[in-house]
């Protein structure tokens, strides 16, 4: 086989499709451990909450293509670089000319390394487990979500609104610690509390209790929270165990160059499994859906390119509407960056930028996301912001609305302003 791709998630599928487009004469084989390819992980919280039907999750349907083969339900056991081959768990061996690794990651499972786990504990990651969670939730209404990152917060919000009683546990002292500072996270916390979610911040899962083989409650920093369902959405560890003896890992990380090439010139990697390392020694882990898509495409393009091109954006911007609260994350807070903020917490707005020198290196807009595009543009171009930096932070909605015709103004307002009823 000429191009083999491991993993049929966001990065792997895009890599396969793009490979067919860029190198039409090359055959492509995509191998996926699970039974589904071409669905959207970010919609899984809505799916679990019963707000989105399964067919809506799929954004791609296979079409007839003799040079694109997709094999599902097969796991790669190991990689043998000297013979350029992969060993599958069904004892088969597959040779490759070029390889793209896109095995993604999975939540970290604390404490739960026990063998005899009761029913009701699920990691939040794949459609297969989301189906099980959806079925399980038909009979079990009390949920504990472990992990206050993006996945945990989204999962908690959608399930709470679907009528479940949700408790959200985060070990740091504020939500979305990878993306927001404490004051901006405060708005998200208030929003979730208004939705009715019980928050346990700065708390660790210590133990679980079961009854007749089913989870009954979870002990969080000394306190027992009742719940028959524990959804684990803590962090992400790359699925790279199968690369253990391949010589591609450094300190348990799959390092790639900015052109997504691994230590082996014939092997590229993309998505949540990789750490991108620049020659300046910086390491980036932009593990988001848009990045996985971009990286999958770039890895495919670079496979046979005479001059492989680097990824030009290494940040992890993200935007979402969390049941009425708009959030744009430009980049994570870093210890050495200065923070400037525009605080209108009473109105449900908090906007902050992280600056190194006069360059924007990150930031977050909560409640009012106007000007996000401009700020993102300034950030990725490394532009020096001159004059009064704070002017970028003032919500520009009002000026912006005045320029719009009134019908559009109404639509715009509905989309991006903080709903009034939430404020009361």
């Amino acid at each position: 086989m000429e191009c083999v791709i491991i993993g049929g998630g966001a990065a792997g599928l895009q890599a396969a499709l793009h490979c067919r487009r860029c190198w039409p004469e090359k055959s492509v084989l995509l191998i996926e451990a699970e039974g589904d390819v071409g669905y959207c992980n970010p919609l899984l919280p809505q799916f679990m909450a019963g707000q989105v039907e399964e067919e809506k999750l799929f954004f791609w349907q296979p079409a007839e293509d003799p040079l694109l083969q997709i094999r599902k339900g097969i796991k790669i056991r190991s990689l043998d670089r000297p013979t350029q081959s992969l060993n599958l768990d069904n004892q088969e061996k597959i040779r490759y000319e070029r390889l793209i690794l896109a095995p993604g990651g999975q939540p970290i499972l604390p404490l739960l390394r026990r063998e005899d786990l009761p029913e009701g504990i699920f990691p939040v990651r794949t459609l297969a487990t989301a189906r099980k969670i959806r079925d399980w939730l038909l009979k079990h209404k009390e949920i504990v979500v472990l992990g206050g990152g993006l996945v945990g917060v989204k999962t908690a919000a959608y399930l709470q609104l679907a009528g479940f009683a949700v408790s959200l546990v985060e070990k740091e002292d504020h939500l979305l610690p990878q993306a927001l500072t404490k004051p901006s996270a405060r708005l998200v916390e208030r929003h979730l509390q208004r939705l009715g979610i019980r928050l346990f911040l700065g708390c660790l899962l210590e133990d679980i209790q079961e009854e007749k083989g089913i989870l009954k409650s979870a002990k969080v920093s000394g306190q027992w929270i009742p719940g028959e369902t524990l959804l684990i959405a803590v962090g992400s560890t790359p699925n790279i165990d199968f690369l253990e003896n391949s010589g591609l890992l450094q300190d348990k990380e799959l390092l790639v160059s900015p052109a997504l090439q691994t230590a082996d010139a014939n092997i590229f990697a993309a998505g949540d499994a990789v750490t991108i390392s620049t020659s300046g020694g910086e390491k980036h882990k932009p593990w988001t859906w848009p990045q996985a898509v971009t990286q999958g495409k770039l890895a495919a393009e670079n496979l046979f390119r005479s001059v492989p091109l680097p990824l030009n954006v290494l940040t992890r911007p993200n935007s979402m509407n969390l049941q009425g609260l708009s959030i744009v994350i430009l980049g994570a807070p870093t210890p050495d960056a200065a923070i400037i903020s525009h605080d209108r917490t009473a109105e449900g707005i908090y906007r902050e930028l992280f600056l190194r020198g006069r360059k924007i290196v990150g930031g977050a807009l909560v409640g009012d996301i106007s000007g996000a595009g401009l700020l993102h543009f300034l950030m990725i171009n490394g532009s020096e912001v001159d004059g009064d930096v704070a002017r970028f932070l003032k919500p520009q909605s009002r000026v912006f609305y005045q320029l719009l015709p009134s019908s559009k103004r109404q639509r715009r307002r509905a989309r991006i302003l903080f709903p009034k009823e939430m404020l009361s």
Binding site: L248, A259, Q261, A263, A265, S279, P308
Partner: protein, 215 residues
């Protein structure tokens, strides 16, 4: 003896890289130094340095030269240049040299804190200390820092940045193993203090960061 002072790299990497020189000096102990240097050389062979050269033969440990050939070549005025990748091994070598007490000048080069500590541990009192004050001038013309970690290991700058890149390219294409690449880089260094063990580690770290652009 400044040529070994400008090795660049991270502290954790430099902690495993020391240069040791044995230098007879004209007018002091030059005449009759041959047998003394030879005895020191014999001792150093037992301590397994990472690399070593004697000025009378200029063939490093990995050139295929036999120890007898090296020892045979030693005559009055011969100097030994060696590199160690292990602090403890270097300490043992220094203890041995001290015991031999041949009266020939010994220079150790490495991270100053580490070298001072080592000297204290084995009860040696350095009589002269040279410190590197960094590199000045048109530094923009130098190769980038990651490549300089390799090129500065040869005190005379004989390891070319282009060779380093070429070795990285060949390793990434699977044509060379890390150690083989390291030996190739060590070959042009005629001062014999290029440390291939450290270079192997650095190649391992650096290989993923570079993208090969010629298939």
């Amino acid at each position: 003896m400044t040529h070994s002072l400008h090795r660049e790299g991270t502290i954790s990497s430099l902690e495993r890289d020391y240069a040791l020189f044995i230098y007879p000096a004209r007018g002091f102990n030059y005449n009759g130094s041959g047998p003394k240097v030879r005895r020191i050389m014999e001792l150093l062979y037992l301590e397994a340095p990472s690399n070593m050269i004697v000025s009378t033969l200029r063939r490093n440990l990995y050139s295929g030269v036999r120890p007898e050939e090296v020892l045979e070549s030693i005559k009055d005025g011969a100097r030994i240049y060696s590199a160690f990748n292990n602090r403890e091994k270097l300490k043992e070598a220094l203890v041995g040299i001290k015991k031999l007490d041949e009266g020939i000048s010994v220079v150790v080069s490495g991270l100053i804190d580490q070298v001072r500590e080592m000297a204290a541990e084995i009860n040696l009192n350095p009589h002269t200390i040279n410190l590197s004050l960094g590199i000045h001038g048109r530094t923009d013309r130098l190769p980038p820092p990651d490549i300089r970690q390799f090129t500065t290991m040869c005190g005379h700058g004989m390891v070319s940045p282009a060779l380093v890149r070429d070795v990285i390219r060949r390793i990434k294409k699977g044509r060379l193993a890390l150690w083989e690449g390291s030996i190739i880089l060590a070959a042009p260094c005629t001062c014999g203090i290029y440390n291939p063990h450290r270079s192997q580690e650095m190649l391992h770290d650096l290989v993923p960061l570079y993208t090969v652009n010629r298939w």
